[in-house]
């Protein structure tokens, strides 16, 4: 039948798949241990439920956070370098216009966003993936500012000092978690996108 004629196209390069899943692990550890660290001295009038946190107590959470930061940063450097050098970013995430984002987000909310060709990201996807990259860059630099407010004080100053960097770090985390939750929701709504992140292949649209 038709199955025999199904054509496959490679839509996710190996580097992107590996760095994606390493990033999933790194972000899970960073976010859940970070919540525990936040709980030691909350600056908003709430704490994160401890069942959702990692580390057991502050020292454990700090150990996780400062171990996984290497994973996050090294993996991030590999991904961004690959994205720029190979032209992956230019090919998949650009061009992007506010008008196109607005249009596609509206379509998505109406449940009418087409996903026939998985090899091409729509504007809403492009915006989300770029926002995740930007969030992570802000998280890394605000994190460095909190970790080394003396040795890296020039970076800390960009965030308005040590206390400013703490707030930026938390807000960037919040935005990241929000985008990731939407990302997961979209995968649940279009489940055939999930296997492609392992195999890298998708059926060629007819």
């Amino acid at each position: 039948m038709e199955a025999a004629q199904t054509q496959w196209v490679r839509i996710h390069p190996l580097v992107v798949r590996i760095t994606h899943w390493v990033n999933v692990l790194a972000i899970l550890i960073m976010v859940t241990s970070g919540w525990r660290i936040y709980n030691a001295s909350p600056f908003f009038p709430f704490r994160i439920p401890s069942e959702l946190t990692l580390g057991g107590w502050l020292a454990g959470a700090l150990q996780w956070h400062f171990a996984a930061m290497w994973l996050l940063v090294l993996n991030g450097i590999a991904y961004v370098t690959y994205g720029i050098v190979s032209g992956h970013f230019k090919r998949k995430l650009l061009p992007i216009t506010p008008r196109a984002i607005f249009h596609d987000v509206l379509e998505a909310l109406r449940g009418r966003l087409a996903h026939e060709d998985l090899s091409v990201y729509n504007a809403a996807q492009r915006a989300a993936y770029l926002a995740i990259i930007l969030c992570l860059i802000v998280l890394v630099f605000s994190g460095l500012s909190i970790w080394k407010p003396v040795q890296l004080q020039e970076i800390t100053a960009v965030f308005g000092g040590y206390e400013g960097a703490r707030v930026v770090h938390f807000l960037a985390m919040s935005l990241l978690v929000l985008i990731v939750l939407v990302h997961i929701l979209m995968v649940i709504l279009v489940p055939r996108t999930l296997p492609t992140m392992f195999s890298g292949r998708a059926r060629r649209p007819t």
Binding site: F46, T53, L54, W57, A59, V150, Q151, L181
Partner: protein, 252 residues
């Protein structure tokens, strides 16, 4: 429970801002490692091999921070108007359990790789050249506060007592049974201060009378209070919190 004090001492009021829907989604997807650990009925962090790996990474971070440490990089200093009032009290016990040390009979004991081991009385310490700093104290819990400390530049004191500055560590033992240790590079940093005064007054008991070590390039718990003795050594001395899992270098 004692070891949890550091985490809970400044605990604020809790409120659930995370929507339960969001949380349920989170749990169902098994996306939180914490949730995963809960489901498998064991605490991931308590696992022996995980503990070992985290310990290795913490020692790696000690080394990384040693390389990152610039002996000439000064912690930012602030104007008097920026000082935090009241300055928070923090220790592994509550403020009504603060140690009272008798100043009249106090003598700072010296040991280890030091040439002149003669103990120092308070009048002798007060008579040394004094300097002041207004810097930010940053707690490992995350909060910070700006204060004014005065005393003897530690590097000058080390030179005066003939400490072997090629040694690796300086350890401190305190009247409240606290203990900690620092690397020699930080000990020799120009802002590391043998502190005898806080806010231009003789150091009050709650801030470490008769003497504390102020290190603006390290987290708060690396700034020992009520110092009774110090020693120079090449053997890793550890510390009260460090031995429980807090990172040893803990530089800022």
């Amino acid at each position: 429970m004692k070891k949890r004090t550091m985490e809970t001492s400044l605990a604020g009021h809790s409120g659930k801002l995370i929507h339960s829907i969001e949380r349920r989604l989170f749990l169902r997807q098994g996306l939180s490692l914490g949730a995963l650990a809960m489901l498998s009925g064991c605490d991931l962090t308590d696992d022996q091999s995980v503990q070992k790996l985290l310990g290795v990474m913490s020692r790696w971070n000690d080394r990384a921070q040693g390389w990152l440490f610039n002996p000439n990089k000064l912690a930012p200093e602030f104007p008097e108007s920026a000082i935090t009032k009241p300055f928070p009290f923090n220790a592994f016990y509550s403020v009504d359990e603060v140690e009272y040390v008798d100043g009249a009979s106090y003598k700072l004991e010296l040991a280890g790789l030091i040439r002149e081991k003669k103990p120092w009385t308070l009048p002798e310490l007060y008579s040394l050249p004094q300097t002041s700093q207004i810097t930010r104290h940053i707690c490992v819990e995350g909060w910070s506060a700006i204060g004014k400390w005065s005393g003897v530049r530690f590097s000058e004191f080390l030179a005066r007592i003939g400490a072997d500055t090629s040694a690796k560590y300086i350890g401190f033992k305190c009247a409240d049974d606290y203990y900690t240790s620092i690397d020699m590079a930080t000990a020799l940093h120009p802002q590391t201060l043998l502190t005898l005064r806080f806010a231009d007054e003789i150091l009050p008991p709650m801030y470490g009378f008769p003497m504390k070590l102020r290190i603006p390039t390290k987290l708060g718990f690396k700034n020992p209070k009520h110092i009774m003795s110090m020693f120079v050594s090449n053997e890793y001395p550890g510390g009260y919190w460090e031995d429980q899992g807090y990172n040893w270098f803990s530089g800022s």
